[in-house]
């Protein structure tokens, strides 16, 4: 499978892999403790502190690694949640049709008509922002987008003769959704997943930057920008590192998604 891998995808895999590994083994590779004050305020980079220190003298590289862990974990979990709910409900709507489809689709339209950031702000101002609530809120809000895509793709597939054949055989909804439709809807969904993961990273970073996402002392990339944003006035670049991290992660994940899309569409008999 890894033979004939194009250069762009190799670069994407390399960068994404590095970020995920760093997130996974954060406590092992981070040079200092996550909330440990180890130097002066905003020290420049040195052999002891590769990226310098932050606004209260914590090692910035350590903060970045632990921050990456939080950001990537929340974004991944929320993406998985949004895809599972969104695509299952979307397929269900497409296969059922009629009033089931109408009720679900109009409900989704209702949620989509409210900007998700504002909705998230409202919800988070009334309940406590823990990692779990963040994942659930972000995942469910985003699942409306996935629902639309999954429904649109599944409507096309559900009129194919092989789906009709399955219905005539007497198959239950579960088989039709997971065995007949899902495998044929996978490639557009996978491409969308890469994109949505990045939106999740941006979403959680935005919430943390606004102060209602991940709460200190836990580190996350949006939080690091927020904590160090004053430094920009003094020519301190500490707030830019998370921005660079988010941008490179975004690009590399999409390089992989493109590659997977190419591979799956050229699969035997796959959808064009």
């Amino acid at each position: 499978m890894l033979k004939n891998i194009p250069l762009s995808a190799a670069i994407g895999l390399l960068i994404t892999g590095t970020y995920f590994l760093a997130a996974l083994f954060a406590p092992l590779i981070a040079p200092y403790g996550m909330a440990e004050t180890v130097g002066d305020v905003w020290e420049p980079s040195s052999a002891a502190h590769w990226l310098g220190t932050d606004q209260i003298g914590r090692d910035l590289l350590t903060r970045m690694i632990f921050g990456g862990q939080t950001t990537i974990f929340i974004a991944t979990a929320a993406t998985i949640l949004s895809f599972t709910t969104g695509s299952v409900l979307g397929f269900l709507a497409a296969v059922s049709g009629g009033w089931v489809d109408q009720v679900m689709s109009r409900l989704v339209d209702l949620f989509m008509s409210i900007p998700s950031l504002i909705l998230a702000l409202v919800i988070l101002s009334s309940i406590e922002a823990t990692v779990l609530t963040l994942i659930v809120i972000m995942g469910l809000l985003d699942s409306t987008r996935v629902y639309r895509l999954a429904r649109a793709v599944a409507v096309d597939i559900s009129v194919m003769d092989y789906v009709e054949a399955a219905r005539l055989r007497g198959e239950k909804l579960g088989w039709i959704i997971f065995r007949e439709i899902l495998p044929n809807a996978l490639s557009p969904l996978v491409a969308e997943m890469g994109l949505r993961f990045i939106f999740m990273v941006l979403f959680i970073s935005t919430l943390s930057f606004l102060g209602i996402g991940v709460q200190p002392p836990l580190a996350d990339w949006g939080g690091i920008v927020k904590e160090n944003k004053e430094g920009i006035n003094f020519g301190i670049g500490a707030a830019l590192y998370p921005a660079v991290a988010i941008a490179t992660l975004a690009i590399s994940v999409n390089l992989i998604a493109d590659w997977i899309l190419n591979r799956t569409t050229s699969l035997k008999g796959g959808r064009g």
């Binding site: 194919m160 092989y162 005539l168 055989r169 044929n184 008999g269 796959g270």
Partner: protein, 544 residues
């Protein structure tokens, strides 16, 4: 001897293929073909799909569709080699000296423009005629092609005329610039038989009257026999046989040509009706949101182990009847009895047993199989679902079914895309058989297949009927198929059963007018057949 109008020598055509998991590479699809077309003569190109007929036809306009490249040889039109000519000269040639009539007029006309505008476009654009002169010529051609209201039909939009009329408009389009050569690419294949005959006659007369030369591409030997002077039989991009129409039809030399001529050689002894397995009584049905009945008071019976053929033109309601029987479209009135039980009108309230005993095979095997499932999964699912077979037992049964459809070892792990058209349809048959049904509805199962392949499928179906004692409801528009396999026949016309009975009853005169029209419209492999039929007809076809 005069120089031929079109002279093709050593024509080789290649294309680049992109197989999954491999590097793209070039293959040759036409391996050096020679032929001539003299002015005013018609050459028929015949062969199965993939034989390279259309590719060769388009090559005479120096055109390669998609990634097709004309790699070697020469194509001379009026003594000029168009393969070596610069693009500027080729553009002058297309639409002026050589024109093209495609299979699907409906897909080729621009739906947003009036017919006249499109018919004269090439003539005016090439500077052959002024607009007024071109319009006059178009009207003259409309008259010649037997179109109704020739003076005003050009002001209509493509959706305002019937399929057969549109095909004739396209012929007018091709003839309008007074070309030397017209390439007809399957011009009647998408039409009903009763419409086909009129279009065929119109094309033939137009060719004769205008003195144009033509390449007539088709897979139907009986059709080409009516219009062409010479026939070239192609297979796998090579010439198999070339000769006058008379010689190819009556004294073919090559084995392959003989097979094409003698296709539909199936013999089937008609069985007498017994206590029916399926009884359809007084069914009336309409689609949701419409206010007319697609089926009116339809009643037919099918005896166990026998075949009922339902024939009719498109729009006659034959596929709707299948949808009603399967429960996809609950009827507004009437009753269906199956194996002694009354079938519930809608699918969700039917028992699993009812669903198992009533299976369906589709026209397009491509879309009837999930492209992401292997053949093993496709055939194995009904076994698992209806009989709870698992593991080795299931594998054994799958292999038995594959043997029954004559595919044998090594097919279980293949995906549908790795099968040929005929093999795909066989897998669909195996999937239906796996359920051990009492009745299989076959909806145009051979229409999308080449004649020799279709013949194989029909033979297989008959063999299976003998072994498994399964009944077929065979929906088709092809009367040759009906003759070959049916025990009883229902002729449908505008949602009603026009004629119904055993095969010999239905096919024995006296006929009602519609049945007569339908039966007489099936092309026969006989010179002069077209003229005879037109002369003896009692009823005009719906295409007019």
């Amino acid at each position: 001897m005069t120089t031929p109008l079109l002279k093709v020598r050593g024509l080789k055509i290649g294309a680049t293929v992109y197989p999954p998991g491999e590097k793209p590479h070039d293959i040759e699809i036409v391996h050096g073909v020679d032929f001539d077309v003299e002015a005013g003569k018609v050459l028929g190109l015949i062969g199965e799909s993939g034989a390279g007929k259309s590719t060769i036809g388009l090559a005479s306009m120096a055109y390669g569709r998609g990634g097709v490249k004309l790699t070697a040889g020469s194509v001379e039109v009026n003594g000029r080699d168009v393969l070596k000519a610069p693009l500027k000269d080729i553009r002058k040639l297309r639409g002026a000296e050589v024109t093209y009539v495609s299979q699907s007029a409906a897909a080729s006309f621009n739906p947003a423009k009036q017919i006249m505008e499109q018919v004269i476009e090439a003539s005016v654009g090439q500077g052959k005629f002024s607009k007024a002169k071109a319009q006059a010529r178009a009207v003259e051609l409309f008259t010649k092609l037997g179109l109704p209201d020739p003076d005003t039909i050009g002001n209509r939009y493509p959706h305002q005329v019937s399929g057969g009329q549109l095909q004739r408009c396209m012929t007018a389009l091709a003839l309008c610039p007074e070309p030397d050569l017209v390439v007809f690419d399957e011009p009647t294949t998408a039409l009903d038989v009763t419409t086909q005959i009129d279009v065929l006659k119109a094309i033939k007369d137009a060719i004769r009257d205008t003195g144009v030369a033509a390449l007539y591409i088709t897979h139907d030997l009986a059709v080409v026999a009516q219009v062409s002077d010479h026939i070239m039989v192609l297979r796998h991009g090579e010439k198999v046989e070339y000769g006058t129409t008379d010689q190819i039809i009556n004294t073919p030399q090559e084995e392959y040509t003989k097979a094409l001529v003698s296709v539909r050689s199936i013999e089937h002894e008609e069985k007498q009706p017994t206590e029916p397995v399926l009884r359809v009584e007084n069914i009336t049905a309409r689609y949701k949101g419409t206010n007319f009945d697609v089926l009116h008071d339809v009643s037919v019976d099918i005896s166990p182990g026998q075949t009922l053929a339902v024939v009719g033109e498109s729009g006659s309601g034959k596929s709707t009847l299948a949808r009603v029987i399967t429960g996809l479209l609950p009827p507004t009135a009437g009753k269906i009895t199956f194996a002694g039980r009354t079938l519930s009108p809608d699918l969700p309230s039917r028992s699993i047993e009812d669903m198992r005993e009533l299976q369906m095979i589709y026209q397009m095997a491509d879309t009837a199989m999930n492209p992401r499932q292997t053949v093993g999964t496709i055939i194995g699912r009904p076994l698992e679902f209806y009989f709870g077979l698992k593991g080795a037992e299931k594998q054994k049964r799958i292999q038995e079914l594959l043997d029954e459809i004559e595919l044998g070892q090594g097919f279980q792990d293949r995906y549908p895309a790795e099968l040929s058209g005929g093999q795909k349809q066989r897998v669909c048959i195996a999937r239906a058989l796996a359920a051990k049904p009492k009745l299989i509805i076959c909806d145009e199962v051979t229409s999308a297949l080449d004649p020799l392949v279709a013949d194989g499928i029909l033979k297989l179906l008959l063999d299976l009927q003998r072994i498994e004692d399964v009944a077929y409801l065979f929906i088709t528009h092809d009367l040759a198929t009906v003759r070959a396999i049916s025990d009883s026949i229902a002729v449908m016309y505008q949602g009603k059963v026009q004629r119904y009975g055993t095969k010999s009853e239905v096919l024995t005169p006296p006929f009602d007018d519609y049945t007569d029209l339908l039966l007489s419209s099936v092309p026969e492999m006989k010179l002069g057949w077209l003229e005879d039929v037109i002369a003896n007809r009692k009823m005009e076809s719906a295409g007019n």
